[in-house]
């Protein structure tokens, strides 16, 4: 009977409830908040719901879904060797939990972010950008937000690597943010990923005041000419040319842009519909599940509950706001140079968050003039913004990686 008592005592000592820390409780509340926002307000539910619920799960103590730290102290020289790292972590912290495997095998190796880019390519119609290539510059201008946020982060005391990961939030591209943060500053992955996806879904709230502040009513009423048609041949050539041009200029952006463009070629070629569908659906869905669970599993009290995280969330706003401003200001310049043929608002769509910021522009245009249709014109900068952010990430990687 003593043995039974002992077994019961042992069992209760290892009960999660008795090991719950304040940090755990706060993180569980954070996770539940993300779940609530995703379900109640539809905020990027495909990412924020899995992220939120797995943040809850990994903060229930001793649950063995994560046994390894997110940013471990490794012996010198091991950092770069994923196989040695995993064997070492297994030795130090015991066998991996499911979420450790997802994080280390699928996310840290960049498999998942790159496959997401592959699927995005298969989903994206670059037609509007091909029809009016000058709008691509607006996609470049919005990247100014990336660097302004980065500089602000440095000023606030973040390291260069952290600051670069924070800045990229302004690119409004979830997978790019995850890709860069995983490489440069994995310990803040949870914070930057959550910031990126949260603000992407808040674009309709963040952008309009900035746009209004920078444009006059007349400017917002400018109508634009209809876009020229784009042939199937151009759409097929586009991903090939883009891949080659960008990879030759910024090799560090090649993985992101390459996978994006392979996906797009699958889409536009018209001869591999099976594969294009798989990239957009079965593979994309599976990969999205793993991305959400893996990112959420990095949200542990010790690395997430810091003043840094709050600052990162604040810097996210800086990033989105200055990115919007950058786009609109170049829009105004292009308006002047073109003799008023370009509506400066479409610059705001350079913040990718496809197609939300393009829709914001369309909505604001029709508020001023119900007959003004800017949507397709805004899609040009919008898809260019995806490429622009990948290039910016490439530059940051080449300098800091």
């Amino acid at each position: 009977m003593a043995a039974l008592e002992q077994a019961i005592i042992d069992f209760f000592e290892h009960m999660g409830l008795l090991n719950l820390t304040v940090g755990n409780i706060v993180m569980i509340i954070v996770g539940l908040t993300l779940v609530y926002l995703a379900i109640r307000y539809g905020m990027e539910p495909l990412l924020l719901l899995p992220i939120g619920i797995s943040a809850v799960l990994v903060n229930l103590p001793l649950s063995h879904l994560v046994n390894w730290p997110v940013a471990p102290q490794l012996p010198p020289g091991m950092e770069e060797n994923i196989f040695a790292t995993m064997a070492y972590l297994n030795q130090q912290y015991g066998p991996p939990g499911l979420f450790d495997l997802i994080y280390y095998l699928l996310i840290k190796t960049e498999i998942v972010p790159l496959l997401i880019f592959f699927g995005l390519g298969a989903m994206t119609d670059f037609g509007p950008m091909i029809a009016d290539p000058k709008t691509a510059l607006l996609g470049a201008a919005a990247q100014i937000g990336v660097f302004i946020a980065m500089l602000t982060a440095i000023a606030l005391g973040f390291s260069l690597n952290e600051a670069a990961s924070i800045g990229i939030i302004g690119g409004a591209d979830g997978p790019t943010t995850i890709y860069l943060t995983t490489k440069l500053a994995p310990h803040i992955l949870g914070a930057t990923a959550v910031a990126a996806y949260s603000y992407m879904s808040l674009v309709p709230l963040i952008q309009p005041p900035v746009i209004k502040a920078l444009t006059s009513k007349e400017e917002r009423r400018i109508r634009m000419e209809q876009l020229r048609p784009v042939s199937k041949r151009e759409k097929i050539i586009f991903p090939i040319i883009s891949m080659i041009v960008i990879a030759l200029l910024v090799p560090t952006a090649a993985p992101l842009v390459g996978m994006l463009m392979i996906g797009n070629l699958f889409r536009e070629s018209g001869v591999v519909e099976r594969l294009s569908k798989a990239a957009q659906e079965e593979l994309m869905n599976i990969v999205t599940i793993f991305l959400g669970l893996g990112v959420g599993s990095t949200m542990r009290a010790d690395s997430f509950l810091t003043a840094q995280t709050l600052m990162i969330l604040g810097l996210g706003i800086v990033a989105f706001t200055s990115a919007t401003a950058g786009g609109v200001l170049l829009g105004k310049l292009m308006m002047k140079l073109s003799g008023g043929k370009i509506n400066p608002m479409i610059g705001a769509a350079g913040v990718s968050a496809v197609p939300m910021s393009a829709r914001v522009v369309q909505r604001m245009a029709s508020e001023e003039d119900p007959g003004n249709f800017l949507l397709m014109h805004a899609m040009g900068p919008n898809v260019a913004g995806v490429i622009g952010t990948a290039v910016a990430a490439g530059v940051l990687l080449s300098v800091l990686g």
């Binding site: 039974l4 019961i8 995005l120 037609g127 197609p355």
Partner: protein
């Protein structure tokens, strides 16, 4: 024998824990149910004006189809499907409606771009 004693201990622990956990879960569920009923009551007293409209949106009105017609249509489609299954192969997945936007003018294009599923969700 020692093993069997340990087995008995584990059994006692296991049965206790299983019952305890499911009892606690049941109690929590009763509590959630009670809370839900109170919430619904309060929402109803707060009248049809306010509160959680998106919950109701879900229950859309759907035009009733007379059961007989429904049966006829069902039968027709099923028979048709059965008949054709051996001859028709699935239409290729129609993925690219694309160029539509420039042909049908700007208005129709709006809908299409909203279809643009980069963000993988609805706005």
């Amino acid at each position: 024998m020692a093993e069997f004693m340990e087995g008995l201990n584990i059994t006692a622990l296991g049965v206790t824990v299983v019952f305890a956990v499911l009892t606690i879960l049941a109690l929590v569920l009763y509590f959630v149910g009670w809370l839900e009923r109170r919430l619904i009551e309060r929402e109803e007293t707060a009248a049809p004006v306010s509160a959680a409209p998106e919950v109701r949106e879900i229950k859309e009105e759907k035009p009733a189809i007379p059961p007989k017609d429904l049966a006829v249509i069902t039968a027709a489609i099923l028979a048709y499907t059965a008949e054709k299954a051996s001859q028709l192969r699935p239409l290729p997945f129609k993925r690219k409606v694309s160029d539509a936007w420039r042909l049908y003018g700007v208005q129709s294009s709006m809908e299409e771009v909203e279809d643009f599923n980069y963000e993988l969700g609805k706005w």
